[in-house]
């Protein structure tokens, strides 16, 4: 083209038309632009909702988040007590911490301006350093958006109507794929370990399962629990109540994962091979244990590993205590318990069966013979109903009924059973009776939501066709001409608030007597201990208050040589607490005897 190109020279001058126009990126007077609704600005943390799990600090890829103690916030059940602090010199505002927060307490705000002459101010604690940030939250994660998986892998179970036909185990267990998927939901915070009475190393064994090392998981579990398959099937699982994922979803299935891991060790021999515990040389000290329940077995196992010569005296024909004679087989098969007891015995624990202390051998003999004594005697007796006619034939205690069934005895309960009570024993008796072909009604004095039984058990009972009658107080048992139970008469109750702020109390309504036909009545209203084996001379030091032994935090009674644990001592009355007691007693006995 020629040098002088008219078009190309004049056209650009049209840019001058912009000259008089209002600038579109600057405004006079200056207005600060408000950030968008989703802007990723400075952090804000809701300190009450935050549980201090530390997932934000682990995901932060700049290592910008620390968990620190904050004045005024104490750790408690379900809360580690620590709170995140963000180093704004390192933060890149990627908001991954917001995406993985299980409670949703951490979020980002619209604030993007922060000025300070002191560089340490940039280490800032969201929520503390900007309490007003709550008004400005812009980037947050809801349950649907969050990267945590809030849905549990469903556990396969036998169907309700099918399962009453037999005592086959109801819960089928996870297979490998399901277990690994469920284990990978865990964020390894460890908040669960605090509420476990035994402080099992939960995140560690869950991570072992997630990475495919089932043998390592078994070893970690056996570090402080010698009956883990039992816990894996029937534990009360306080851990799951405080699970970080449970704050907005379904807790990680800690119990089922424990069951999966322990079932990979199919026999006692394989368990022995995998766990391969270090058994110290015998140190010449001996310990005698009364009762082969969970507390006694735990104390025995860990003392034996530490080189003590341990002997257990068990009054019944089989070991296990309440876990053998009180838990029905469809929840906890006897083969499973046998496997675990065999393993415990294989490391050298001696058990004398059918030996009742106080009858076949005296307490004094045991006291004198051994260097230390542990009592895990449990609550073998049950409260009677205490109404007119409860001496009829067919009127029994639920706990005794379960004992007889588990021992293989036949019990005649007829075809209509009424169970009085609302705890796990009542539900167990009811579901066992269903399997024996009876129609079952549970009579409970308060409402269904007040029942202390496990909600899973209540649901299971309802699925199996058990009829639950709440707010009913039995007053009389009618007998027929042969002295056999014929009917149960009860009064309906209304709930009145308790003056002291406790649970609402049932108040019987006069004249509301109702009669149900029954061929058997079972009382499941509580249990108590039998301490008749303890001779007079010992009761001064070994004190019993309100039906339980008095012990210090080391499970030691007033007599320094005698320790106790389990249902006879603690108020929580579940297997894991008994195991925890046994473990603590073992450590205390070890401490005491190694000093001598």
């Amino acid at each position: 083209m020629s040098f002088f190109d008219l078009n190309g020279t004049l056209k650009p001058l049209t840019a001058l038309k912009q000259f008089g126009k209002k600038p579109h990126t600057i405004s006079y007077p200056k207005e600060s632009k408000e950030a968008a609704d989703r802007y990723r600005g400075l952090h804000y943390n809701n300190l009450e909702e935050c549980i201090g799990c530390g997932n934000c600090s682990t995901i932060c890829q700049n290592a910008a988040i620390d968990m620190i103690h904050i004045e005024g916030i104490e750790g408690k059940k379900g809360d580690s007590g620590l709170r995140p602090r963000v180093d704004n010199g390192r933060c890149c505002w990627c908001a991954l911490c917001v995406e993985v927060c299980p409670t949703g307490s951490l979020s980002l705000t619209k604030d993007y301006i922060f000025v300070s002459e002191n560089p340490d101010d940039f280490l800032w604690i969201p929520g503390v350093d900007n309490p007003g940030g709550k008004e400005n939250i812009s980037f947050y994660s809801t349950k649907e958006i969050s990267l945590n998986d809030f849905q549990r892998v469903p556990m396969p179970e036998l169907e309700g109507k099918e399962r009453v036909k037999s005592f086959a185990e109801v819960v089928l267990g996870y297979n490998e794929e399901q277990a690994r998927a469920e284990a990978s939901r865990c964020i390894s915070c460890g908040i669960c370990t605090e509420v476990c009475p035994d402080h099992m190393h939960i995140p560690e064994y869950i991570n072992a399962i997630a990475s495919g090392n089932d043998a390592d998981a078994v070893r970690i579990i056996y570090d402080n629990n010698p009956l883990p398959e039992m816990c894996g099937k029937v534990c009360t699982r306080r851990c799951e109540e405080v699970c970080a994922i449970a704050t907005r979803g379904e807790a990680v299935a800690i119990r089922w994962l424990k069951r999966y891991a322990t079932e990979t060790a199919a026999t006692a021999d394989i368990t022995r091979e995998i766990v391969n515990p270090e058994i110290r040389e015998p140190n010449g000290k001996t310990v005698g244990i009364i009762g082969a329940g969970p507390s006694g077995l735990t104390a025995a196992y860990y003392l034996a590993l530490r080189g003590y010569d341990v002997t257990i005296y068990e009054a019944n024909a089989k070991a296990g205590g309440a876990t053998m004679y009180g838990i029905p087989k469809y929840r906890f098969p006897i083969e499973s318990l046998d496997k675990q007891i065999d393993y415990i015995q294989s490391i050298g624990v001696k058990i004398h069966f059918n030996t009742k202390v106080g009858k076949d051998i005296s307490f004094k003999e045991i006291y004198d013979k051994y260097d230390a004594v542990f009592m895990g005697v449990g609550f073998p007796d049950a409260w009677p109903l205490g109404v007119e006619g409860d001496d009829a034939e067919g009127s029994m205690q639920a706990f005794r009924f379960l004992y007889m069934i588990n021992s293989g005895e036949k019990v005649d309960i007829g075809d209509k059973v009424v169970v009085v009570g609302g705890g796990n024993v009542a539900i167990d008796a009811a579901r066992v009776s269903r399997r024996l072909g009876a129609e079952v009604t549970i009579l409970y004095r308060r409402r269904v939501e007040d029942m202390p039984a496990d909600w899973e058990e209540i649901e299971g009972a309802e699925d199996e066709g058990v009829n639950i009658v709440p707010q009913g107080i039995p007053v009389k048992i009618h007998k027929d001409e042969n002295g056999r139970v014929k009917a149960v008469e009860y009064l309906k109750a209304e709930m009145v608030p308790d003056d002291k702020g406790g649970r609402p109390r049932p108040k019987p309504i006069e004249g509301s007597n109702t009669i149900i036909e029954a061929t058997a009545v079972m009382a499941a209203i509580g249990q108590m201990g039998d301490y008749s084996f303890l001779p007079e001379e010992f009761t001064e030091k070994i004190k019993i208050e309100r039906g339980r032994f008095v012990v210090n935090e080391k499970q030691q009674t007033g007599d320094p040589k005698v320790f106790a644990g389990g249902d006879a001592v603690n108020r929580t009355a579940d297997a894991i607490s008994a195991i925890a007691d046994g473990f603590r007693a073992c450590k205390a006995i070890d401490e005491m005897l190694s000093k001598k």
């Binding site: 083209m1 190109d5 078009n7 190309g8 020279t9 056209k11 650009p12 049209t14 840019a15 912009q18 579109h24 990126t25 950030a35 968008a36 609704d37 989703r38 802007y39 990723r40 682990t58 995901i59 890829q61 890149c92 505002w93 990627c94 908001a95 991954l96 995406e99 993985v100 980002l108 812009s138 980037f139 958006i145 990267l147 945590n148 998986d149 998927a181 284990a183 990978s184 939901r185 865990c186 964020i187 390894s188 991570n207 997630a210 990475s211």
Partner: protein, 367 residues
Amino acid sequence: MREKATTLYIGPQHPGITGNMMVKVKVEGDTIVEARTEVGYLHRAFEKLQERRNWLQSFTLLCRFCVPEPDPVEESYARAVEMLEGRQVPERAKYIRVLMLELARMGSYLLWYGGQNGSLGLYTMGQWSVGDRNYILDLFEELTGGRVYHMYIWPGGVRRDLPEGFADKVLRTMDYFEKRLKDYDDLMFENTIFQKRTQGVGVIPKEKAVEWGVVGPVLRGCGIRSDIRIDDPYEVYDKLDFEVPTAEGGDIWARALVRRQEIRQSIRIIRQVIEKMPAGDYYNRIPNPHKWALPKGDAYARTEATRGEVGMYIVSDGSTRPRRTHFRGAAYVHAVSLLEKILVGENVADISAIMNSLGTCPPEIER
């Protein structure tokens, strides 16, 4: 008398350089006889750092590979991870990703306007185009929460759904740009100075282009119709209707023309995406990121960014962390081996213009 060659150091602090790198040129008079690219001012070792982070954490580092348009990098990583794992991405997420990519393309071209014209002395264009780019950044801020670094496209889909009223905002912004493009044309392409300065400068011979590793608009400016969006389609580009412009000549002028046409095509694509966007999920959720492991193997995903072929090669050894991630930026070839070749014989005054037309972006070279 023979002239002696002088060595000039262009960069690393130089208004003509598009970032932090240096070009060491030996000149005789005003003509370059040898050129050498020296990089190393921006090495953050992201690839090595990614080996210490798990698959999800790594994605936050990626956007920093390229400032003008971080989205193609995020997208190629996400697609490579999905290829390796076999993860399906929902349709809606794919459309949103295309929307993000094209908006990023427009934003980057607007920045390029500033750079290219600034290298020739036409500073007005830069003021206009960077100001207009703010409208696109506003759109990004509303969708993702960040203006420049989005961290929005991750393996499995995208991070959040479109907010209310977003589609209308996008369409209005596109209307605005269509009007604006005429102003740009008048000032820049019709401008005789621009034409004289760019025609015949920085020529890449057509028959050598592919062998020298030229990609993107630079290749299309040599007359070869090559675009990953049609050759090796990804996301939903095979369902969209658009043209791939080419121009003959292989000089700066041809490349500028190609880029100008591509902005128009981008607007066209964005309008189609808004129209065709299906309802549905926007994310196929990954499991717990701390425990998410990819199967053993490797994958390579390429994306057409404004500068050309951008690719992410990942290798997994079956664990939760990458064994190797290797990012290939278009500038890796353009700014080192190619630049050293075509600068020979050019004027010193044109170095900046040539570099801008190749789309050099130093963070891509040394990551």
